[in-house]
């Protein structure tokens, strides 16, 4: 077991960690504003990947432009979905809103996944590379696709952090997450920010899907694993904490990749890779439900 192997695995873990973080940040954002866990988030990620693929294949866009188109399309699509399906969450006439949010997003996931199987076929599709070839840094060999995915992913996350902390809209989102009523009193329309949060979350997921597609191919059921990873991350990082999701995303990417690479029985390692994350999720939920960086006011009991 050489150090080179370790570094290659660690670098791969960091790349996948960035992608996980992009997905999980959306889940956290939606949770902190709409107070629901979006069970369809992984399927939005899947749709984003396919959307970018078809924009490349049919309209001949370059891959990065296709990613932008996919993000914009999912942003709009998610806002329409939110307007159509999630508005009862904001009315006082709805009893047990948690349950409503759960069932609707779970049903949406079921619908999207099964429609994708039919519309896109069950076989994996692979879009063209961003930049073909590999890059060597010393003994470290990485495909350019992974480097691009990590780079753009980090840019998107930094953009989100800037948006959340330095712009008035981001501050307004934070205000709505802390108290819907107080935000309304100071003149923020919470409904508009519900749509915005859902749209941004979906756009980030779509970006993640488009970024990872050249490395791992697209499949209609890729959303299931992505969803579970996203929950592991948001629970680890703390529901509602953007920074926590980013750190936990990187941690999970590393932990999984290294776990798989160094587990004594390689055939089982791959199978138990997901179970390992899920086990962490369950342990955290029992012993530290607010996660590593959770914000107390967002803890839902």
């Amino acid at each position: 077991m050489s150090w080179d192997y370790f570094f290659v695995q660690a670098a791969n873990g960091a790349v996948i960690g960035v992608i996980y973080a992009l997905i999980a940040v959306g889940v956290t954002l939606i949770f902190s504003i709409l107070k629901i866990v979006n069970f369809a988030h992984g399927d939005l990620y899947m749709l984003g990947g396919y959307c970018a693929y078809f924009v490349i294949e049919l309209l001949g866009f370059p891959p990065l432009a296709a990613m932008a188109v996919a993000m914009a399309a999912l942003f709009l699509g998610a806002i329409i979905l939110e307007r159509l399906m999630l508005t009862p969450l904001y009315s006082d006439a709805t009893e047990r809103k948690d349950e409503y949010g759960l069932i609707v997003t779970f049903g949406l996931a079921y619908f999207l996944r099964n429609s994708a199987v039919i519309a896109f076929g069950p076989f994996p599709l692979k879009p063209p590379s961003f930049i073909p070839g590999v890059t060597r840094i010393g003994n470290l060999i990485l495909t350019n696709d992974r480097l691009v995915a990590a780079g753009i992913g980090i840019l998107l996350i930094l953009g989100l952090l800037y948006f959340m902390q330095r712009t008035i809209w981001g501050q307004a989102l934070d205000a709505v997450s802390q108290s819907r009523d107080s935000a309304a009193i100071v003149g923020i329309n919470p409904r508009r920010f519900n749509s915005l949060a859902f749209g941004i979350g979906a756009a980030l997921a779509a970006g993640a899907g488009a970024l990872i597609a050249p490395t791992y191919s697209l499949a209609p059921d890729m959303g299931v694993a992505a969803n579970i990873h996203a929950y592991v991350i948001v629970i680890l990082g703390g529901m509602g904490s953007t920074l926590g999701s980013i750190i936990a995303g990187l941690m999970l990417g590393e932990a999984e990749t290294l776990f798989t690479a160094f587990f004594p029985d390689p055939t089982r390692a791959l199978a138990y890779q997901n179970a390992f994350g899920v086990l962490m999720l369950m342990i955290f939920l029992v012993f530290r439900p607010q996660g590593l960086f959770g914000r107390r006011h967002l803890r839902m009991e």
């Binding site: 629901i36 069932i103 369950m282």
Partner: protein
């Protein structure tokens, strides 16, 4: 006549049992599977609809019941009914354990926790292939190995469904059922009124999981092979679709939802087979969408139906009919007079 609806139900059951012989083998199979889902939907609605514990691990419990039952037969050679009981006991125990562990969780946290649990169960069953035969599937012993038709299975499924419904119905109508619903409405208020919230949450989990184990055990000894995908999220989504479309807050409507969805799924398959392929062209992008397998669209259709139900008829599609049916034969109570019809007091006096 107060018990009219009970008489009607009994009469319909008797007719179904009497004429079951005339069903074609295919539709009898559909009916048996519908009853399997009926037990699961009813017990899930006991947990999610009555107690408000939105668990996503119900199908995982069904597969635990199925695998426990068959593995015990393989290892110790015990008779099938005994092994099914052992499967139920296993599910009750594990369910109670899960209920105990997630006592402090509610809403989305509980859903995520149980989702995680069901994934672990599925992955463990798929991976430990020396024990469970993994993805290849575990061959199981049949309940009636010498039966020429599916009729004995039909009667067994019917009996299991009826017994489960009666037991669960007695539970929700008892004082305990009242406690369970109190927990759903407000856990803290229920606790303050003297309901042992923790004990009843664990109990609800154990009981619902036990019924899931019963359904799983029956399924294992009806279909000669069980696979890990029996407990995967797609199955759970299907169960959720059934219970929600029917109405998850009452046991009979959940069962009705299971029947409705299962029969419609098969009916749509029938229609699709007769209709042949469908060809769509999207003019703008020039994409050809060929729908050779129209029956695949069945699943998205039910996704849409679930969303529409949640959006516009949150109590379920069958609930209004059921409530109407339950009032059959009762004297129509005239509504109390509206306030404006009451004689007005003279403001001067």
């Amino acid at each position: 006549m107060k018990g009219l609806h009970i008489c009607i139900l009994l009469a319909v059951s008797a007719l179904v049992l009497f004429f079951a012989d005339g069903l074609s083998p295919y539709w009898m199979h559909v009916a048996i599977i519908a009853m399997y889902y009926g037990i699961l939907a009813a017990s899930w609605s006991l947990l999610a609809g009555y107690v408000g514990l939105f668990s996503l691990s119900h199908m995982a419990f069904a597969s635990i019941g199925a695998y426990t039952s068959q593995l015990l037969i393989n290892w110790y050679g015990i008779p099938i009914p005994l092994s099914m009981v052992a499967g139920i006991a296993m599910c009750c125990f594990v369910g109670g354990l899960i209920g105990w562990v997630c006592l402090r969780m509610s809403g989305p946290y509980l859903a995520i926790f149980t989702l995680g649990f069901s994934e672990i169960v599925r992955i463990a069953i798929a991976t430990e292939d020396q024990v469970t035969a993994g993805m290849a599937g575990l061959h199981t012993d049949l309940l009636f190995p010498s039966a020429a038709t599916r009729l004995p299975y039909f009667y067994t499924a019917f009996a299991l469904l009826a017994v489960s419904l009666v037991l669960m119905g007695l539970l929700v109508r008892s004082r305990w059922g009242l406690f369970l619903r109190a927990i759903r409405e407000d856990e803290q208020a229920a606790g303050a009124s003297g309901v042992a919230v923790a004990r009843f949450r664990i109990l609800a989990f154990a009981i619902a999981s036990g019924f899931a184990g019963l359904a799983g055990g029956f399924y294992a000894h009806y279909i000669p092979i069980i696979t890990p995908s029996m407990g995967d999220l797609d199955e759970m989504a299907k169960l959720l679709v059934m219970a929600v479309i029917g109405g998850m807050e009452l046991l009979p409507t959940a069962v009705g939802g299971a029947f409705f969805v299962e029969f419609l799924l098969e009916k749509l398959r029938d229609l699709a087979d007769g209709g042949g392929g469908v060809h769509w062209q999207v003019p703008v992008l020039g994409i050809d969408i060929e729908l050779h397998n129209f029956d695949q669209w069945r699943l998205p259709i039910f996704g849409v139906l679930l969303l529409l139900t949640m959006r516009f008829a949150r109590n379920g599609l069958i609930t209004p009919f059921w409530l109407h049916f339950m009032r059959l034969g009762e004297a129509r109570v005239s509504p109390p007079p509206a306030v404006r019809d009451l004689p007005q007091k003279d403001p001067g006096t």
